[in-house]
């Protein structure tokens, strides 16, 4: 059992506060992705869990044991680094077995574990090679194998795929997910790539300016963003936002239309809808098409709705040209509302 609890963790670098009061529980064997733009504090949080960085305040617990005062080796973790950190002076075999050697494990056990994890990562034919003789993808496999060989409770990964080319990244992503699912370890995975986050995660923690703004399943993060930031960060293109004016009794005026919305006393809210959740119809938001980008399966339209930029993804058999006037109907159950003052979602 390796449930991870992060309790009230904050981190300051001098006068700069990198993390603000982080609270997060990661279930045993869960695959948690920390997602955010660079500088949001996701790597700092991972390094605090690893023990490579010390939190200013707060506690970290793994498997019911407080570990934030322990050196990395006593935390039951293993880590995969962004630049692989595969030792250039050791063979692949000795790299994978590095942690086991440090534990003074018996030779035959080291050989058994190294061979097994090498087979798992399909690098068994590379065991006598040195890192300089490997491709980036192979080095990445060595780094993952080295972590798996430790049979850790928790495996930490800091943007492990970001140095690979696009095709290899896709292949490694799928493989990583399969291997980790079988290894029964709890995984924390840091990335700035939302597609990677969506495809790998059991749960995503979206981070912004040193805070976790939402921790939920990929679908929930996508469909029900808790904050305007999440709505604008997740999805490519992100959600559309339009100003909404209160017309009383839970009715809100958005551009040329009036929608049913939350019955709150505020005078203004933000109406939000994903580009793929609108359909061309007889009744709807009046949109003037500015740009049409055919993407094969879809058409990506950039329009002007009530003076604001609005994107729509439509079926590619539509014939639309720049300058056309369209009416776009928003799917009622996909409309979300945000408070412009707090940026929070309103149910």
């Amino acid at each position: 059992m390796a449930e991870i609890q992060i309790r009230n963790v904050a981190k300051c670098f001098g006068s700069y506060q990198a993390l603000h009061d982080i609270n997060l529980t990661i279930a045993d064997q869960e695959f948690m992705v920390l997602l955010g733009a660079s500088g949001c504090g996701k790597s700092t949080l991972l390094r605090i869990i690893a023990g490579l960085e010390t939190q200013t305040t707060g506690e970290v617990w793994i498997g019911g044991r407080r570990i934030d005062h322990l050196p990395p080796k006593d935390r039951g973790i293993a880590m995969v680094f962004q630049n692989y950190a595969v030792f250039p002076h050791l063979t692949v075999f000795e790299n994978i077995g590095f942690g086991l050697r440090m534990q003074k494990m018996r030779n035959d056990e080291v050989t058994r574990r190294v061979t097994r994890t090498a087979e798992l990562m399909h690098i068994e034919q590379l065991l006598t090679r040195y890192s300089g003789e490997l491709s980036g993808g192979q080095r990445q496999r060595v780094a993952v194998a080295r972590a798996l060989a430790m049979e850790p409770d928790v495996i930490l990964m800091d943007e492990p795929l970001s140095n690979l080319d696009a095709l290899l990244r896709l292949e490694m992503r799928a493989e990583l997910k399969g291997v980790l699912a079988e290894s029964n370890t709890t995984a924390i995975y840091v990335t700035h790539d939302q597609v990677e986050a969506m495809s790998l995660a059991d749960r995503i923690s979206v981070m912004h300016q040193g805070r976790i703004v939402q921790a939920a399943s990929p679908v929930e993060v996508y469909r029900d963003p808790a904050e305007r930031f999440v709505a604008g960060f997740i999805g490519n293109p992100p959600m559309n936002f339009l100003p909404a004016r209160n017309t009383g009794a839970g009715r809100w005026a958005v551009a040329n239309q009036v929608f049913d919305g939350p019955d709150v006393p505020a005078t203004a809210l933000e109406f939000a809808i994903r580009p793929e959740d609108v359909r061309p119809a007889d009744e709807g938001l009046e949109a003037r098409v500015r740009l049409v980008e055919p993407l094969g399966a879809h058409l990506l339209l950039t329009c002007d709705v009530g003076g604001a930029m609005f994107r729509a993804i439509l079926d590619s058999d539509m014939t639309v040209r720049a300058g056309d006037e369209l009416k776009l109907a928003a799917m009622p159950d996909r409309i979300r509302w945000f408070d412009p003052d707090t940026s929070l979602s309103i149910a």
């Binding site: 490579l52 880590m79 680094f81 630049n83 050791l90 590095f98 534990q103 890192s131 300089g132």
Partner: protein, 281 residues
């Protein structure tokens, strides 16, 4: 200009310089060393090797190198690791530590002579503290061990920094991620030093050791200042042959012997510290 020719043109000046001031004198020295009354001969070598002072000076030189170089290596590694961990004042400390490097070896010898001689600082201090009744002559022929130690101390003080600067540069080149990986995978600070720093420092260690070992075989001025004739070394013998005995052939033969020893040790260092085939550091 022809791109294939350009590199050769660029190294031409330095090649000419080396030929004129290194290769040519070297050939002259070799000719002198192997020259005899009737053409080529090994007489000069036979003469210098069979002279009674040769084994003593060879032994002294070797012993001195065997004591000084390991101590300097350990000190330089320790100092380089310390400097590398410093966040503030790193440059200042490095400058201070390298000051002895800017002092000529004879001046360094004289500084330590001022400490150890009969009316030197050490004696004044010991008398002042009441530790000794009268001045002790540390550097006399009756105290060969003391003379040896004083010379070793002066050499360590003088030339540790040359290894230090090479090792500081080398350690600075090792990416931080390797240390973090080693730490996460359970290596203690000492294991990180043994399993990451030392192997990844091999190229710098080679350079530093070769430089220092070769210089150790050429030790002269410090020995002359502190030991005089009490402790003969190879370089001192070369000087004596050349200027006191006016025997250029013997001096040349000795110089070639020192060169030979240097080459042997350089090859040994290169072999022992070689990077395994395929490994890139």
């Amino acid at each position: 200009m022809n791109a294939r020719l350009l590199p050769y043109v660029l190294i031409l000046p330095v090649t000419l310089f080396l030929c004129l001031f290194f290769l040519y004198p070297f050939v002259l020295v070799a000719a002198q060393a192997f020259g005899g009354a009737d053409g080529l001969s090994l007489d000069n070598f036979r003469d210098v090797v069979s002279y009674w002072k040769f084994p003593i000076s060879l032994k002294n030189t070797m012993l001195l190198a065997a004591l000084v170089v390991p101590v300097q290596l350990a000190l330089a590694l320790l100092m380089a690791t310390m400097v590398n961990r410093m966040k503030k004042g790193r440059d200042l400390v490095l400058y201070i530590w390298t000051i002895p490097l800017g002092i000529s070896d004879l001046a360094a010898g004289i500084i330590w002579l001022a400490i150890f001689e009969q009316s030197g600082f050490l004696n004044s201090m010991m008398t002042g503290l009441g530790l000794a009744d009268g001045p002790v002559n540390f550097l006399s022929y009756q105290n060969p061990g003391m003379v040896f130690l004083a010379i070793a101390l002066a050499e360590i003080w003088r030339a540790t920094a040359i290894m230090l600067v090479i090792l500081v540069a080398g350690i600075g080149l090792i990416p931080k991620e390797y240390y973090e990986a080693a730490e996460v995978f359970g290596a203690s600070p000492w294991q990180r030093f043994l399993r990451v720093t030392l192997p990844m420092l091999r190229p710098s260690l080679q350079t530093a050791l070769i430089l220092r070992v070769v210089l150790a075989f050429e030790v002269f001025a410090v020995v002359a200042a502190l030991g005089g004739t009490v402790m003969p070394v190879l370089m001192g013998e070369i000087y004596a042959y050349q200027f006191d005995l006016q025997n250029g052939g013997a001096a040349a033969a000795m110089a070639l012997i020192v060169l030979g020893i240097s080459i042997v040790f350089t090859v040994i260092i290169l072999r022992v510290l070689r990077v395994p085939k395929g490994a890139t550091i």
